[in-house]
């Protein structure tokens, strides 16, 4: 089967600093990838290059065979509608109510009707148990609620893949579970996901594959069981010994 996302020789330099270089990777439909690694390994930068929020210096990112790096502004907008993203700090639109946060892109980008978009938004909100928050503004939500709504906002566009950039790092410990369980449900429904996380248990239980990133390279790509029990590289061994 052709991979949904194919990353070829992706390199990101910032001035004279190489953040990562020559990364090759593939993601198939329905796969859940957890991207692990020490802080500063370039995981988030790498993830943000996948939907071109960060511009790679060179290389290719193919989504269903179409390259994002070389695409025009207009094509890029089109391609981005297929790639959802969930941020560490939620980034809900502060000037919009929850429902407007969710329906903005479906209406403005996909041209959905207001009624249709809202109906769908309510359905999605129900699945995360937050339909009662539809008309409040983000500043009255807890972190866990905000992140669940951010996930709903991404889902409302029917993306092929969702990128998670440390989705639980900014949460109070007791709120982490509610967000992870939403993500777990998505995984069960075969949503394709790439997740940068420090939640080792979650990565172990939910992922199809672990990518271990350090020193500007993906050093290991393994099934979770193999990675956690049998890390091959010394870097991964060191990382795991610190984390667990």
């Amino acid at each position: 089967m052709e991979p949904m996302i194919k990353i070829e020789k992706l390199t990101k330099k910032f001035k004279n600093n190489t953040i990562f270089s020559d990364i090759n990777a593939e993601v198939h439909k329905g796969e859940v990838i957890s991207l692990l690694g020490p802080s500063g390994a370039g995981k988030s930068t790498f993830l943000r290059c996948i939907n071109m929020l960060g511009e790679p210096t060179s290389g290719k990112i193919l989504l269903d065979g179409k390259d994002l790096v070389s695409s025009s502004e207009k094509e890029l907008i089109q391609l981005r509608t297929h790639i959802g993203m969930v941020f560490q700090s939620f980034n809900l639109f502060e000037n919009k109510t929850v429902i407007d946060n969710i329906t903005l892109a479906p209406i403005k980008v996909k041209g959905m009707s207001k009624e249709g978009a809202e109906e769908k938004a309510h359905e999605l909100l129900k699945t995360v148990g937050l339909d009662d928050k539809a008309n409040v503004y983000p500043d009255s939500l807890s972190g866990g609620q905000a992140q669940r709504i951010a996930i709903v906002r991404a889902l409302a566009m029917d993306p092929e893949v969702i990128l998670f950039d440390e989705p639980t790092s900014a949460l109070d410990p007791e709120k982490v579970g509610e967000v992870l369980s939403v993500m777990q449900d998505l995984a069960k429904k075969d949503m394709t996901m790439i997740i940068v996380t420090h939640e080792m248990e979650f990565a172990k239980n939910v992922s199809d594959e672990i990518w271990f990133m350090d020193e500007g390279k993906i050093q290991e790509k393994q099934a979770p069981k193999d990675f956690f029990e049998n890390p091959k590289t010394p870097n991964a061994q060191r990382f795991l010994s610190k984390m667990i």
Binding site: R80, M85, E94, T97, V109
Partner: protein
């Protein structure tokens, strides 16, 4: 390295713009045309525009007319006579005395009748008609000083005031040694300064001095006894407008033959000089309420329209300044720095007189253009600050959902930015309302201008100032409260 280069390019661009402006407009804008068709043009237009500075009773002053205001005066009567002889209508355009000759050179007016005397300097830039009225130089003093000051010689070592640009100003400056001369634009201000003892005397044309002294108890006029100060009032024309000048001279000949100016024009004008002595100042101000109302209207028109365009310009230039396109960025930086680095008063005059050499823009429009452009630069900086205050995460989230950069700005960033900068925009709005008073220099009938008109008509110095001060405060205070109220309303987001 790259940045340094960009900087020097930027500075060069700024300098180029500055020099461009200067050279474009200092080259004598309109040459005296070889073939003079000035008279023909007037006849084709069907009207002649006369420029004057209406703070010079009885020559020219603003009086009440069915509740509104109108320029009256002996010079206006003369203007009418000339227009009648030419078979055209007379239009009167008021402005500061200082601006009159510029207006003539830039063809904003066809002739200037403003109790003006010919001087060698003036004769370089405009042509003068025959003398239509002669008057002498008098001194206006406080009655308490009439023992100390008997002639111009007694003014040595004293502080005196004169109208900037007037022949009296020059006469005193050249003729009296060791004198401390204060120039003011407006005779009413001079009278106020005299009454409050800041200056000892004002040299004025005798007829004008008489008009002011008659309306200000406690003031007295004496003959200055200064040799060679017979003043001869003449009409000024655009240089080379010989045919028009000859036609006017014919009228002047007629007027002089029958001594119409003193016999007919001055008395006709004097009828309109209001006598308010029997009333309280408050009652007088109330009588002039229509002046102030019309002033408020203009002030509000200027403010509302300028705020609208100022914000549009502000958004455009803020976005250009934030743009990654280096050219757009530089244009915006130049605009902002240039506008913020030059006085608004100068900008207003530049737009009116400078731009006026290319296209004929009415004073009100010029004022609005200048104030909008000025405000745009300040608003751009406020908006830029507002946009920078919004976290990148907001636009990143929008982009990740497939919104374009433009949509992200429109729906997410700008609404939040506006909420953050609301108080600063409120301040800018209040500043703009206050600064609209500067448009009075080019004769826009806003509050400041109307205040001058009321001063000239009532001979009351302070009361009109107090009235417009209160009006300005009421307007700006109301606006501040409204902005504050709206701030509460938009505390959440947009009306989208």
């Amino acid at each position: 390295m790259k940045n340094k280069m960009k900087h020097s390019v930027l500075i060069t661009m700024l300098l180029m713009i500055a020099t461009l402006f200067v050279t474009a407009f200092t080259v004598p804008s309109v040459q005296a045309s070889a073939s003079d068709n000035s008279l023909q043009q007037i006849k084709q237009k069907g009207y002649i525009v006369m420029g004057t500075a209406p703070d010079y009773p009885p020559y020219e002053f603003i009086g009440k007319d069915n509740g509104g205001s109108k320029v009256y005066g002996a010079d206006i009567e003369l203007g009418k006579a000339i227009a009648k002889d030419l078979g055209v209508k007379l239009k009167v355009k008021s402005m500061g005395f200082d601006s009159l000759l510029v207006a003539l050179q830039t063809k904003k007016v066809d002739m200037v009748i403003a109790g003006m005397n010919e001087t060698p300097e003036r004769a370089k830039s405009v042509d003068f008609s025959k003398t239509y009225y002669s008057s002498g130089l008098s001194l206006v003093l406080n009655t308490s000083d009439d023992k100390k000051i008997k002639s111009y010689k007694d003014l040595q070592g004293k502080t005196i005031g004169a109208q900037i640009g007037s022949v009296q100003y020059d006469a005193v400056k050249k003729g009296i040694k060791n004198i401390n001369l204060k120039g003011m634009e407006n005779i009413n201000d001079l009278i106020l300064a005299l009454k409050s003892g800041k200056i000892a005397a004002i040299p004025l044309d005798t007829a004008v001095a008489q008009a002011y002294a008659a309306h200000n108890p406690g003031l007295k006029i004496i003959d200055a006894k200064m040799p060679g100060q017979e003043s001869s009032n003449k009409i000024a024309f655009f240089k080379g407008a010989t045919s028009l000048e000859n036609a006017a001279n014919k009228t002047i000949d007629k007027v002089n033959k029958d001594n119409l100016y003193t016999k007919k024009f001055v008395p006709a004008a004097a009828k309109h000089i209001t006598n308010n002595k029997s009333q309280s100042q408050f009652e007088t101000m109330w009588q002039y309420k229509n002046f102030f109302i019309s002033g408020i209207e203009y002030t509000m028109i200027i403010s509302v329209v300028s705020v609208f365009f100022g914000i549009i310009l502000g958004i455009i230039f803020a976005l250009m300044r934030l743009s990654h396109n280096w050219l757009l960025h530089s244009i915006s930086v130049c605009y902002i720095e240039f506008i913020r680095g030059t006085p608004q008063l100068v900008q207003i005059m530049f737009i009116y007189f400078g731009l006026g050499t290319i296209v004929n823009v009415p004073a009100l429009t010029s004022g609005i253009i200048a104030i909008s452009i000025n405000s745009g630069a300040y608003v751009a900086e406020i908006i830029r600050g507002g946009i920078n205050s919004i976290s990148d995460g907001q636009s990143e989230a929008a982009l990740s959902l497939g919104l374009s950069k433009k949509q992200s700005m429109q729906y997410i960033v700008l609404p939040q930015a506006f909420k953050n900068i609301w108080p600063a925009l409120g301040n800018e709005l209040v500043t703009l309302i206050k600064d609209s008073s500067l448009a009075s220099v080019i004769g826009v009938g806003e509050l400041m201008y109307q205040m001058r008109a009321v001063q000239a008509d009532t001979y009351l110095g302070v009361a009109p100032i107090a009235v417009i001060m209160v009006i300005y405060f009421v307007i700006t205070f109301t606006i501040s409260r409204i902005m504050k109220h709206l701030e509460g309303k938009i505390s959440h987001g947009t009306n989208d």
